[in-house]
Point group: C2
Chain length 351, copies 2
Amino acid sequence: DLSFDPKEHQHLRYNPLKDSWVLVSAHRMKRPWAGQVEKPPEELIPRYDPRNPLCPGNTRANGEVNPSYDSTFVFENDFPALQPDAPDPGSDQHPLFQSKAARGVCKVMCFHPWSDVTLPLMKKEEIIKVIDKWAEILEELGATYPWVQIFENKGAMMGCSNPHPHCQVWASSFLPNEPAVSDRCQRAYHQKNGEPLLVQYAKQEAEKKERVVVENSDWLVVVPYWATWPYQTLLLPRRHILRINELTAEERDSLAAIMTQLLTKYDNLFEVSFPYSMGWHGAPTGPHLKEDNSHWQLHAHYYPPLLRSATVKKFMVGYEMLAQEQRDLTPEQAAEKLRNLPEEHYKTREP
Amino acid sequence: DLSFDPKEHQHLRYNPLKDSWVLVSAHRMKRPWAGQVEKPPEELIPRYDPRNPLCPGNTRANGEVNPSYDSTFVFENDFPALQPDAPDPGSDQHPLFQSKAARGVCKVMCFHPWSDVTLPLMKKEEIIKVIDKWAEILEELGATYPWVQIFENKGAMMGCSNPHPHCQVWASSFLPNEPAVSDRCQRAYHQKNGEPLLVQYAKQEAEKKERVVVENSDWLVVVPYWATWPYQTLLLPRRHILRINELTAEERDSLAAIMTQLLTKYDNLFEVSFPYSMGWHGAPTGPHLKEDNSHWQLHAHYYPPLLRSATVKKFMVGYEMLAQEQRDLTPEQAAEKLRNLPEEHYKTREP
Ligand SMILES: O=P(O)(O)O[C@H]1O[C@H](CO)[C@@H](O)[C@H](O)[C@H]1O
Ligand SMILES: O=P(O)(O)O[C@H]1O[C@H](CO)[C@@H](O)[C@H](O)[C@H]1O
């Protein structure tokens, strides 16, 4: 009779934000890898490139000229997936052929005038300016749009087509799938347990410690119990906060600090500028501003693809697409690895 | 006042098998691509490689020697994500830290003794042997396991680590997320509309024609109305069939024929061995064999990643992971492109 060891015995874990399960098969890290190897990220990026449409003073695809910005810079995406004025596809539809109107705006936000920095290599005051701008955009677009998705695709491996440090903001006339499911799950949990799901979760993780990567007095970063990507993390405030624009000056300061810690550890893991997609989830906006959204808790998801090294990622393919997501190391193993990494960036460390 | 044109105006489409929406922004194909370019697939694969563990007569990682097989060959995966005897993680759990036992078996199935062929380059009789083996494995593992996932990861881009033509079969003690959601959706539709969802859908598409890629008297391949991947297709029988082992000899013959047509068109699209993940979904098995599963209809999903060329794929990243899946051409455009491609494989065509 065997006793259960999560590192040796595959099992399922429940994701309460998605109402779905992940298959954890940690013994699988033992298999040799003979598959695709990715190109390592470009390490020699010029600070200024006259052909890069994101650099200060350059001309973009639509002929507009960027200002000589010296902090953050926001502009409308020149090839937006969402436009404010698309007509309605019309109703009277068969249940198997249903469509709906989609309207919105897509913005691009540069983090810094230089192309050769990333968030963990920026100064704290510079990161605070990014956070301030996130809060400002959420407030501005959230005044009318029900959902404002702030997200960063970092690295060519994550479909990012420009090395200049930047994120995107897509605001939509509809609540997209992921936040809609998360809204439903958080609401049901709150109703049943009398406390917001992620407020309770942060307290539990702060006590248990085994999945904590970094923490400070306002924030907590964990590899969530239900993580699907190998080094996925969840960034959580300790206080109950609905939206990013509610952060106090102190919380913006401590957020900048914990982001630097997390992203430095990410870069240090394989000594490479760590690719990921990240994004903020908070209570819905627009018409939802008037509703009770106390079941929501602000948080950021980080989804990095790398598994084994700087060039071997986790493939979420056949079984994952057709049946269920699967991971090859336990969340506790991933958290321990990240926790034990140095807090000084490998690029600035003394030789 | 603009009139709605799906090719020009972004809109949402409903996926009735997943109860979710996809954002269709077809005007986005106009943007230039400056991002990551993939390695094209290896075209020079030796027919027999003494170091390839999938070739006839070779020794695998665990020391077992493959027979000199001359058709299909099935063996247990040497690094299985599911094993038959994992202990139970135990109950008495906090609602935010829920785990469950997962047991199963993982098999690998070679399609052919040669490494340098793929399904569309195999003879019809050889493909029928693959279909027969799929039916046999479903029957064998489905006798006890509730779900038997047959899937093929094709190409290094899809995490496939061995060029030898093969698929995998993972049977599990649980119903995974994807089929669980599909089961719920098909059941609700059947109850409400009196006919199985996919039986009704096939009839509608056979009439409308605009999303049909290929068809014969038993089968239909469409780019579904709700496709997320650029050239995603759905392979559907016209008759109501619950599971793959119910196929008649004639239906196996016509299935082999339509697979050849579809996969030849896929390869011809960018004149490259087209990467994809595919898999079969049918009514659940094991304990579910005794239940009424008449809401189910057998079908196969093909999820190919390529978007623009043999080396530029669609990235399902930031917005897609955090908010909603998004596509850059309409399903009708994709279907038309595939439909108009020649049925002779580019590798065997006269010069
Ligand atoms: O089993 P393989 O082919 O080595 O592995 C591949 O398929 C599996 C099932 O979809 C995935 O979990 C792996 O990430 C992928 O690399
Ligand atoms: O807008 P970008 O950076 O050109 O494009 C990238 O991010 C988008 C939003 O996640 C995705 O839809 C694209 O597939 C990806 O390549």
